[in-house]
């Protein structure tokens, strides 16, 4: 199989898995327990906290471990919204967020908050003038993703925080799930207050993530119980998972610059080869700074779902738009927000590269894609009952 869907998830790194295993067996204790087995688990938890914090330029005490990016986003948005409700009820986010943010914001709308969904450019970059115009003293929360999961466009977060800080006291959150491990992140410099992460996007296990909450930023917990994670996330932590996240973050921190350069040139090779061998392909977000391993395209005259199915049958794993619960594809809200015409958006395809991607994978993928697009474009529907 040629796996080109690293933006969806990644295989766990061997070093990460090895680091986790002892925490499933000998260090099985509850980290809240006082005896040795509990202390060992707690030690693993705190070491991981330091590693994750170190990878993103944060303090260990600012890291809240969660079950993943979605929980972190929910915690950030609901927690900040309810905590600052007395100051105002306006929330600002973008129209190209992951559903974990988008649907949470829509839910908050039902709870009485007013939400502005900012438009984006044709290249999938948030409109800063619209941001500026949307802000008021009522704005309590602004959430803008670090990089888009579908098209890879990197958002101008420094400018976002500068604009917001000048205008109001809103809490600033970023969904950084797609950024960690792909581009260097220094939260101290971004001027944000909260950021969401997920371990499985960078070679860690599924079911683990984190919310970074800057000191002195106050948010309301959204789940209640034993008071773990400084009262922000009750429930016995997934110790082995967290340990794996810590290891994956440490590796990412060490290797991110080299990997970003390598994947960037590999992606450029992929893009150039596709554009030269297949006609009528438009690369999405090509005019924006992009995540190095992401290539999103619209291929005219073919259905994205047919593309994926045929690529799969030939051993190439890719993705298109975003999947709904039934597994079928609805037109991507990201491509719609970017103003891509529906007939082009139907033929959307995303390749995303990662640690194991090599030039041979890229070349093979181009060969298979060229074949598949040719076949799909050559077959026109027939009329039933033609005898």
């Amino acid at each position: 199989m040629i796996y080109l869907d690293y933006a969806a998830t990644t295989p766990i790194l061997e070093e990460v898995l090895q680091e986790m295993l002892p925490y499933q067996r000998q260090f099985f204790g509850n980290p809240s327990s006082v005896y040795a087995a509990g202390r060992e688990a707690k030690k693993g938890l705190e070491e991981a906290r330091e590693r994750v914090a170190g990878a993103i330029g944060a303090l260990p005490s600012e890291i809240i471990f969660t079950s993943g990016g979605t929980e972190a986003d929910n915690m950030a948005l609901k927690g900040a919204a309810f905590s600052h409700r007395s100051r105002g009820n306006h929330i600002v986010t973008t129209s190209i967020e992951h559903h974990a943010v988008l649907h949470t914001a829509e839910w908050l709308e039902k709870q009485g908050f007013r939400v502005t969904f900012l438009p984006v450019s044709r290249d999938g970059v948030v409109d800063l003038d619209a941001l500026s115009a949307s802000l008021s003293s009522e704005t309590v929360l602004v959430s803008v993703m670090l990089a888009n999961n579908e098209v890879g466009s990197i958002q101008p977060l420094s400018q976002v925080s500068k604009i917001v800080r000048e205008r109001c006291r809103a809490v600033l959150h970023t969904d950084a799930v797609q950024g960690l491990g792909k581009i260097p992140i220094d939260l101290g410099k971004l001027g944000f207050d909260m950021a969401s992460f997920a371990a499985h996007k960078l070679g860690g296990p599924k079911g683990v993530g984190a919310l970074w909450v800057r000191h002195k930023t106050v948010i309301e917990p959204i789940s209640h119980g034993g008071g773990q994670e400084r009262g922000m996330r009750s429930g016995t932590p997934n110790v082995a998972g967290v340990v794996g996240f810590g290891k994956a973050a440490e590796i990412a921190q060490r290797e991110v610059e080299g990997e970003a350069a390598r994947l960037g040139s590999l992606r450029d090779r992929l893009q150039a080869a596709i554009l030269s061998s297949i006609a009528e392909v438009e690369v999405n977000a090509s005019g924006a700074p992009r995540l190095p391993g992401t290539l999103s395209m619209c291929i005219k005259g073919v259905e994205g779902e047919s593309l994926l199915l045929m690529l799969d049958s030939k051993g190439v794993a890719a993705s298109s738009g975003s999947a709904c619960a039934s597994g079928s594809l609805d037109p991507s809200h990201v491509l719609m927000a970017m103003g891509i015409p529906p007939e082009m958006a139907h033929g959307s395809l995303r390749f995303s590269l990662g640690r194991s991607s090599a030039a041979t994978d890229v070349d093979k993928a181009v060969e298979v894609l060229t074949q598949v697009v040719g076949r799909l474009r050559s077959i026109a529907p027939i009329t039933v009952g033609s005898g």
């Binding site: 779902e305 619960a325 597994g327 039933v384 033609s386």
Partner: protein, 353 residues
């Protein structure tokens, strides 16, 4: 290389077993479910297209070990099948959406997709059979007559039948359930679906009130003499030949004889006015080429009785002359021609007199 079969799966037991039978026959099976409805499922939880149905079909594919995909046909389905359904009722007809779906979605768009995917065979869970003979492919009734669905497949021609198979058509329903159970498929005990898949909770009236508001305004029920006998709840809510649910207090049984959208009138008549000798059809097609005039048995509604007639065709239209007077059939429904167990073809009922 093993031959490849695309199986259209609904999440029910029949299409599950269709896939299993083809897998067993040595095909590389690809399961495909069509998502025909936007947003969440329109129907009850177990209905076709629902998330649960997709999960059931996907689980069957896992157990039988073949790839499964959901394709989004919601836009095309809404445009063609639902559009035809609402437009039909708006003009006083009684459309058959399954026939439209088979004609447009399943055996045109999906079949051509299957061909593009390199499939040698396309299968569904319909109860019918395809026979290959020296004279071409024949479309036959299912062996289990009580489950026969050949009525909704009459529009298939040689091009479609050349690559289409209905694996469950050889079996009885209990046998199909037994096969599903013996393979440990979770769909083995699922109840049969009865309702129109896109009408929530099977409430056609509620659906029509929403989608055909012009046909849902009360108006007069008149007799042949033009005298008002009562009030109807919207002409789109009636079918020609209907007797029950008219709410008329007269002693003699009365039937819907005419639906007039132009002035929102429903005309009723006594039984003696409800039989016809002649029908006109449109969109007529044949499984195998036929002579212009032929004798045949005709069915004018799903599970309806057969009646002998002489059919005269011209292009895609036909005139059906029954041997004996027949109960009035509803325009919009399909008239299907049979010779014994073989489906010859059929068309949409345009009018009857």
């Amino acid at each position: 290389m093993r031959p490849k079969a695309v199986v259209a799966m609904s999440g029910g037991v029949d299409s599950s077993v269709a896939a299993a039978l083809l897998k067993d026959a040595g095909y590389d099976v690809i399961g495909i479910m069509l998502k025909l409805w936007k947003g969440r499922a329109a129907n009850n939880e177990s209905g076709c297209c629902s998330v649960d149905a997709a999960e059931d079909a996907r689980r069957v594919a896992q157990v039988l070990d073949f790839p499964f995909y959901v394709l989004n046909f919601a836009d095309e389905f809404d445009r063609t099948v639902v559009g035809d359904f609402t437009a039909g009722y708006a003009s006083g007809l009684t459309p058959n959406p399954c026939v439209t779906c088979n004609r447009t979605i399943k055996f045109r768009t999906l079949l051509s997709r299957a061909r593009a995917y390199g499939a040698d065979l396309f299968a569904t869970g319909h109860y019918a059979r395809v026979e290959e003979t020296a004279a071409g492919f024949r479309l036959m009734r299912a062996n289990d007559r009580s489950k026969d669905q050949s009525y909704v497949l009459y529009m298939l021609g040689q091009v479609e039948l050349a690559m289409t198979r209905f694996p469950v058509g050889e079996y009885s329903k209990p046998e199909i359930r037994d096969i599903a159970a013996s393979l440990g498929l979770r769909t083995a005990g699922k109840p049969d679906s009865q309702d129109i898949c896109f009408v929530p909770n099977g409430d056609t009236h509620a659906f029509l009130r929403e989608r055909v508001p012009a046909g849902s305004q009360p108006g007069p029920i008149l007799n042949a003499a033009g005298e008002s006998l009562g009030t109807h709840r919207g002409y789109a809510h009636y079918t020609l030949g209907q007797r029950r649910g008219l709410g008329l207090g007269t002693g003699l049984p009365l039937y819907v004889r005419e639906i007039r959208p132009s002035d929102n009138v429903v005309v009723v008549a006594g039984r003696e006015h409800m039989s016809v000798r002649t029908m006109h059809l449109r969109d007529v097609s044949f499984v195998r080429p036929r002579k212009q005039m032929f004798r045949t048995s005709v069915i004018t509604r799903y599970r309806g009785a057969e009646a002998m007639a002489t059919v005269q065709t011209a292009e895609a239209t036909a005139r059906v002359e029954f041997d004996e007077p027949q109960p009035l059939a509803a325009p919009g429904q399909s008239a299907v021609f049979y010779d014994g167990d073989e489906v010859l073809g059929g068309g949409t009922i345009l009018s009857a007199a």
